[in-house]
Symmetry: C3
Subunit: 480 residues, 3 copies
């Protein structure tokens, strides 16, 4: 069966079509064999697991459906890469942190960690959205999850940096990794797909589903891995305040930067979330609601500014084609978050935390028993720099791998187009006509099939005149 | 930068465009300064916080997307006003209830309370949807949150009224406040926007997302602030039963009141939720599942009746233009809920609750130590009347403020239109044409831009030939 | 009022329109009277109640919105039948399991059980989607909930079979019940509605909302009724692994079975969930993550295969018209799940569970105190066979009842069409025209109504008259 199918497929739109099933199965089988030594441990179910899960699959998935003809791929490929990513992350993180007696001990905590790891891949997906094939995405997931795990291990376990909500490990890493990849994969003639790169009315509403679920559950995201009790509570509250502030600032900036004072949906979909990224590192520290509001406002401000001024600059000068604008939503706010974390650590005062509080919340145990808040701040800064270095380095290597010509990439004039990777059913079906008698043709004697519409308008015409109608009417049947 | 932007904006669609960013920033900065004295307290995370949050942002946001060209504003402005409202509510309620030693103590419980407060603003937003600018909404939020806090303080702390799910404080208050505002803001020539005030096929489906999330999480809403344990459990169960009953009754009424027995999507979107509003006050009392079913059925009955008979009457005779029909979803069921609460309190019998149960569940402490169930019932009724008075009075004052001509309102023929406040990307882009080679123009020598299409259907053609276009074009208007 | 309304309704599209409200009210009143003896008990709130609730109302509701013109009915009728089903299930299961001292004791656990029961009806709804009236659905719900309760009672209480996630009781039963009903209701001329049976671009995206929420919360579904602690934790983890594996396998198969290697949205929407069905029975057993991955992969494999090869065969040869393909999503994986459960029970070894672990997790109490794992495996197999028998028998009886001609079924050429049961607002409204001054007719003197557009393009007209078409066609590009 398989052999004949592969043969039959020659000359399709997607040149290396057989790669996708092979790749998916290869990924799955790898995980099969490796997960052989797994056992589940009876850890308690932490609240917020489902919240983070919702963010990764519904939040990121629908956030990227804003393109008018790339909704299937946005939500479908995000589903695919996340489903593979969580399995691979479970394995890697299991070997690193939960390997006992020849078995990986799996608990719900590991599932949250895997979701975090995949969130970083979803961020990077935003940069290359519409320009890569599912095969490339699976390779990227494999590579990025591995690098993420290494980077996180160095930061959290070796440098003992604090990063509760992952401003550095998830957002900064994901963003600059994705940006480097898309920089390497630069497409000179992408403007051939420019008209498909815009949004449509309803696709923007689908995208808002993603935005709102991300916004709502972000407090759970930033607090999911905190010590339970006080720190978790603080993380949720700080994130909540920061997010609320970034909404107002984003709306203000979006209107202020528009010639007619109008709002731009792209800013509302993205910059409103910047506050959640910005307090990620410092969320469980004593940032206080006041500090969170200021951080959220700053992030909303720079994120919107990024969409208006920095993103076009990146594309035209630095050749970085960032489809979703992840530099504005995850890159800038992630770096702000890392800096805020370092500063908050430095200024952690015993009169607010209490001396044991500082030791506890900054983890001054083991080799860091001699630490001061100042050294902790320095380590936070080193962590941020290391993350950037890893992202650049890794992104370049992966980008070069993905540039190989046999991964089934779409052509430059076929980017941002679902039909390359998806069987479009409505192309087969005819246009749906509602049953309104008043609109029916009075004399249906001319046998015109609806699928070959106006192009056949009368014999006396030169074909050329009716031509513009044909694509228009066919677009009617496709766009909805 | 700002100066030149403001200057460049003269003569735009939205006359006072510079107001929006100024207003948003002003709101944010106010909260900044005032939240300076805030501290978070280590209260436990009550379950259901995220549920209420989801209702306010996804539920109310998407419920209002039913208008064919007002989806961006519905979900976007709801996002904006909720994000400002929760901050302002945190402040006000903090000063009133949680101010200790110069600091406002913030806990997750405050966040739920803030969401409740904002829910009341979302209700009122439904009445003025499509007719006010974001600037007006921010003013309304500021004003209504303040009034809500005062009214709630009087009811819950002075009159010691029970109102677990906020039938009175949230729904009745929000509905009659919003209706009064829209009555003051009456637009004589609104029928100029009538064609935009209808729904489209997919916008109704987006709206159902809102309905379902509201429906699912309403048990959490009504039980979120109850005493934990028995009362909370009772509140969730009663709300669940009431909601289920109102679905069946709404469907029955919707079909019965239609000439052809067809269902109306508006009723399914709204009246099915009336049961949740109706048991709000009595939810944690011993209403019993049986009582809840009856209350839910009554609410579903009157809510659907309201859409068919009362709403057109309000608009034509009383000049109340209620876009979402909040009078039917929140007004009538809210009053029913208040009455049910009073009656349930009066008939609270020691043989069901037990004597300590009554004292505990009706809070007969402090100055009410002498109370009987009858006096409690009277207080409930006074609470309802006071709420109505506050809503009318406050609504008139705010309405007069909002009638001032410089808030950037849309003209009468431009209501229910996103393009007034939002940059519409697709207007810039050309029509998307799918890549179907069979439809491609064989000879693209005639330079026709796709946006001026059928107009070139040359003059020499007989009438019959253009007929097939009619159903095609009508399908254009239906499919979206 | 009612009398005149019923009279006025003669000759409508929906012949027995008066049946719907009567039916709905009858259902509601029945529940009223019977719920009289209900009391709520103070059980603890199990986590995951809201998750299962979300799956039934948002998950199944939106999963079925994929048809281009049946979204209102998919989500609306699912809402209706679920709201009635949970009430009826509460009653039946209350009488059977929680009847004490003349009262049904209601707790949140009962609500979860009711949601489970309704999930089985939602599954069966998928088979008859688009071909039955709401009246028929209410009858089906009444009948199926009753039969489900009987079947579940026999399996769980008499045979003491384990079925934590309901592979047998929910999915296999629901699927084969629904398939039998649709087999009895076979419509010979259904191809007259064929063009309406396809999906549209945005309707497929709505359907993905359902898929993702089902996918995310399936671990809660399979673990909601498990013993708390270890077994619940195991159930969540196994389901998570199985689901992840079925995503990759489904994508691989979907691409492999397509001539051009393209993905099919139907497979992504459905087959990715097969893993959750497949581990339902064995979820809380010691299946281990490794076993779950394999089960998930097998389910994804056969589910996709089912869509491509088995479903067309069922329709053409066996006359089973399965609208949503529930045989592939619930039927095949359900049977696989039942078999996996039996095998896992047989191979439950004391060296993994520990002797008390086996007795505890397989419930070897009461009459089964003498049981071995082998006899438990046999009972599991008997349970599966009994479920299939009940589904076939019950489906035939119900199918014959539903074939009676007075339930308001749509005609063969009017299936999959919302307009039969729903008042369509947009048919009244005219096409929306965006306010773009450059597109406005320069001389609007010719009174052309926008709803009769191109038909008037007469031959003798100068070019200026055809201008009104421009905004119409441009609306094509805008509305979607």
């Amino acid at each position: 069966m398989w052999g004949s199918l592969l043969a039959a497929r020659g000359g399709g739109t997607w040149e290396c079509a057989q790669l996708c099933p092979i790749m998916c199965l290869a990924c799955q089988v790898t995980v099969w064999f490796l997960l052989g030594q797994t056992q589940d441990c009876g850890c308690a179910l932490p609240a917020g697991f489902q919240d983070v899960h919702t963010m990764v699959f519904v939040g990121f998935g629908f956030l990227m459906t804003f393109l008018q003809r790339y909704g299937f791929s946005a939500v479908g490929f995000n589903f695919l890469l996340a489903a593979f990513g969580i399995q691979w992350a479970l394995l890697l993180q299991g070997w690193l942190h939960h390997f006992e007696g020849g078995y990986i001990l799996l608990g719900i905590e590991n599932l949250i960690n895997a979701d975090f790891c995949v969130a970083s891949v979803c961020v990077a997906f935003g940069a290359v959205l519409g320009k890569v094939s599912p095969v490339q995405l699976l390779i990227m997931t494999f590579f990025q999850v591995t690098l993420f795990t290494v980077n996180e291990f160095i930061l959290l376990n070796l440098l003992e940096v604090k990063d509760a909500g992952g401003s550095m490990t998830i957002h900064t890493f994901g963003a600059y990794f994705g940006l480097t990849v898309t920089w390497i994969l630069y497409r000179r003639n992408l403007e051939q797909s420019k008209r498909k790169q815009s949004s449509a009315y309803h696709s923007d509403l689908f995208s808002m589903i993603g935005t709102l679920f991300l916004w709502i559950f972000w407090p759970s995201f930033n607090s999911a891995m905190s010590y339970h009790g006080d720190a978790q509570h603080r993380a949720a509250l700080n994130t909540y305040c920061s997010l609320a502030a970034s909404v107002l600032t984003s709306v203000a900036m979006s209107s202020a930067l528009n010639k007619k004072g109008k709002l731009d949906m792209v800013h509302i979909q993205n910059a409103t979330l910047a506050g959640g990224v910005g307090v990620g590192t410092a969320a469980e520290m004593m940032l206080m609601p006041y500090g969170s509001l200021i951080v959220g406002s700053i992030c909303g401000f720079f994120s919107t500014l990024g969409f208006v001024y920095i993103m076009p600059f990146l594309e035209s000068r630095l050749r970085i084609q960032d489809t979703c604008g992840i530099h504005n939503l995850h890159g800038i706010p992630g770096i702000i978050g890392g800096i805020v974390g370092a500063v908050t650590a430095v200024y952690a005062k015993p009169d607010i935390y209490g001396d044991p509080g500082i030791v506890h919340s900054l983890d001054f145990h083991h080799f860091k028993a001699w630490s001061t808040t100042k050294t902790q701040g320095e380590f936070q800064a080193y962590g941020l720099l290391l993350t950037l270095a890893m992202a650049f380095g890794g992104g370049i290597i992966l980008g070069l791998i993905l540039r190989l010509p046999f991964w089934g990439q779409a052509a430059d004039d076929n980017c941002f187009e679902d039909a390359v990777y998806w069987e479009m059913h409505e192309e087969k079906s005819t246009v749906y006509l509602p049953e309104d008698p008043t609109l029916k043709p009075p004399a249906p004697s001319v046998p015109l099939s609806p699928s070959v519409p106006a192009a056949h308008l009368s014999s006396s015409e030169p074909l050329g005149h009716s031509v513009p109608l044909a694509p228009l009417v066919s677009s009617t049947s496709l766009i909805p």
